[in-house]
Amino acid sequence: MLKIIKNRLDQGYRTSSYPKQPIALYERFRGRPQINRQCDPALIRQCAEACPQEAIDAASGAIDLGRCTFCGLCEMQSQGKFVQFSQNFELGVATRADLITDGSYADLAGHAKQHFKKLFGRSLQLRQVSAAGCNACEADTNVLNTPFFDLSRFGIDFVASPRHADGIHVTGPISRNMKAALLTTYEAVPSPKVVIASGACSISGGPFYGSDEIVGDLNELLPVDLYIPGCPPHPLTTLHALLTFFK
């Protein structure tokens, strides 16, 4: 017992005061890209060709954050002249089109559906479905339940039964073998319900695009209300998206 108390004192209070106070991530973290479309078009073309995710449109210089895994190659390739990643982790958006950015970003709070705020603003229960996620997306969602993020203090919880849920939070590129289970889980959630696509995989197939064993785009199956990009999205990206969209 003494050990438990001693450890409790050692550990102290660890919960972050975000969102009341801003939180800074280490400079190597790659959040919102700042894009300089005025740079040499040859440089943009080079980056577009090098991008493993085919996320850069050479003609317009726009980046599709639904495909991007934030690997940082384009920043390195252009030595920051075309793309520079900021540490801003606020990446969630309400439409697929808003993920394609030329450096400007849609205001998530403004696009959030008001009736969702009314319905779920005080309490939101989500059923997480991993549809062939690589376990990084899952782990960094799970981590929201640890003392540092402590998601439940906002009235948001992940629940076991879809019957108790207000919506689903989907990770992974949706393997053929998970399609049926995903749809059954969705059916089991009572309406009105929300659908959240989390991670490059559920939005575009992520690293697995082109494989014929995956669906690769959740929107093809279900109407997505909220997109959270990243590979995986940083826990704060998810937290910010959930709070802004529903609170």
Binding site: R8, A50, A139, N142, S211, E213, I214
Partner: protein
């Protein structure tokens, strides 16, 4: 060792040098090797120019390779020689439609259409509806017997898979684990994509092992492209692999505490796991180390600033890790739940070929960092564990020891002055033609092995991936024999195997 070619970890061999024997000799050679205490690292089929071959990579204290041409079937080694072959043979049947005759329990591995266009060995038609889980599980009969089915969608935030328990009251007589829900077609995809996508896909084979799998991939590409990696980069890669190990072990010790309802350490471990993921973020900007390892070195140089940040964090957190481990392991209630739960005997572990801490907890000392050292491991001290009773307690203890050992390794590596010359960018490179390379690393779960075969033009013709979970899922099933069903979560967490790493 006739009919076997000795190879080295991460070294290119010409395919022409690989023994090409008859399917009978192939079987006899492997049988003799495994009966003499050998283990199977890789065993798979590949097709080229209309000819299908089997290729096996086996190990004792060295690595060997052999191959043969195969027809529509071959005599199964599982029933005849050892269970070590059972999963590999099922995989060959599913991937190429080749039947291992007299396999004692031939069933699907991942539920997908085969690569060769031959008739499906299991009679499934993947052109029509999706049929994951289509399989009549093994059943136990009797009035007092009941069945518990769990999954594919589980209660928590975890990956999908199906578990079927045959129980008499609380006691589990048999657990069958049927996976495949996570199948993304990784091995099919890898040879078809440009090189620049390979590390990104390999980092996503199992996200909790992003460093481990991608290291195997990059080492293979380096060998085939003739790239050397400087010491500075090797140091960073070794540190990253150890950070990954610590983060995952800590997370699992936390989950084990949670499963026995001892909440304080569960919360502390969860938080400390995050601290280690954040150190990977210090190295490369991603909490899972995605984007860090690239052919030729690393994409992010570890400078003085990063070195200091990591060192300072380690100094702060090491005593906390020690204390929280002590808190968990010295609680009698915890010991009572961990000890003698989910036992796998050494003999069983050897028969199944368990790897990583699952094997070490049963007394199989194999650690790829020691046996086939890559990166900086040849120069580093290794850990030998004494606790080998094969139960949850042993698996937890091995992980505790490995956490402390990895912390010490990172400390040693941080003292090294070398820095890598430059950050490596992903480029397309010409690969050695008609070659084979096998890369092995000790990921946190155990032996990861990638095997890459190139054709006449240097293009990749076959990319074979093996996650340690491929061996160890059967270990979990055996742990549950004659165990209370309520002990399942505990047993499961003591292994914490990968679904997507297995399903590929």
């Amino acid at each position: 060792m006739d009919n076997l070619l000795q190879i080295a970890n991460g070294e290119v061999v010409r395919r022409a040098d690989i023994p090409d024997v008859s399917v009978e000799t192939f079987g006899m050679t492997l049988a003799e090797f495994v009966r003499n205490g050998g283990f199977v690292v890789q065993f798979f089929a590949f097709a080229e120019n209309g000819i299908t071959r089997l290729l096996a990579v086996v190990r004792n204290d060295r690595l060997y390779v052999t191959s043969c041409v195969v027809g529509a079937e071959f005599p199964s080694l599982t029933g005849w020689v050892s269970e070590k072959f059972h999963m590999f043979e099922r995989e060959i049947a599913e991937q190429y439609g080749i039947r291992p005759t007299a396999h004692p329990w031939l069933k699907m591995v991942r539920y997908h259409r085969n690569y060769s266009g031959a008739d499906d060995v299991f009679g499934n038609d993947y052109g029509g509806e999706e049929i994951p889980g289509k399989y009549g599980c093994f059943t136990v009969e009797g009035e007092a017997i009941h069945e518990v089915a769990v999954g594919p969608v589980h209660a928590g935030i975890i990956e999908p898979g199906h578990f079927r328990f045959q129980c008499a009251g609380e006691e589990v007589l048999h657990l069958e684990i049927q996976l495949g829900y996570q199948h993304r077609g990784v091995e099919r995809l890898l040879p078809t994509v440009p090189q620049r996508r390979l590390p990104i896909i390999c980092e996503a084979i199992a996200g909790d092992t992003a460093i481990g799998h991608n290291l195997c991939c990059c080492q293979a590409l380096e060998a085939l492209a003739g790239l050397t990696v400087d010491v500075g980069a090797r140091i960073v890669r070794t540190i990253a692999l150890e950070l990954e190990r610590i983060a995952n072990h800590l997370g699992d010790l936390g989950a084990l505490s949670g499963d026995v309802a001892f909440n304080p350490p569960a919360a502390y471990f969860g938080r400390m796991r995050g601290d280690f993921l954040n150190l990977l973020q210090v190295l490369c900007g991603n909490r899972f180390g995605k984007g860090l390892v690239r052919p030729g070195g690393v994409a992010f140089v570890m400078g003085d600033e990063q070195r200091k940040l990591i060192a300072a964090k380690l100094e702060e957190i090491t005593p906390q890790v020690k204390n929280v481990c002590d808190l968990l392991f010295s609680a009698h209630t915890v010991q009572a739940r961990f000890e003698n739960t989910g036992i796998v005997s050494r003999e069983m572990a050897e028969d199944l070929g368990l790897v990583g801490y699952a094997g070490r907890a049963c007394g199989l000392p194999y650690d790829a960092r020691v046996a086939f050292p890559s990166e900086c491991y040849a120069e580093l001290p290794h850990n030998t564990n004494q606790m080998t009773s094969g139960d949850v307690y042993s698996r937890a203890t091995v992980r505790r020891e490995e956490i402390m050992h990895s912390l010490a390794l990172i400390e040693l590596l941080l003292q090294r002055p070398e820095t890598t010359a430059k950050a490596m960018m992903m480029e397309e490179r010409r690969l050695a033609a008609d070659s084979l390379v096998v890369t092995i690393n000790e990921g946190w779960r155990g032996e990861i092995a990638h095997c890459v075969l190139t054709g006449a033009d240097g293009a990749i013709v076959r990319y074979k991936v093996k996650d340690p979970s491929f061996h160890n899922w059967t270990g979990l099933a055996m742990s549950l024999r004659n165990q209370g069903i309520s002990d399942f979560p505990l047993c499961n967490k003591s292994y914490n195997l990968s679904y997507c790493g297995f399903d590929l």
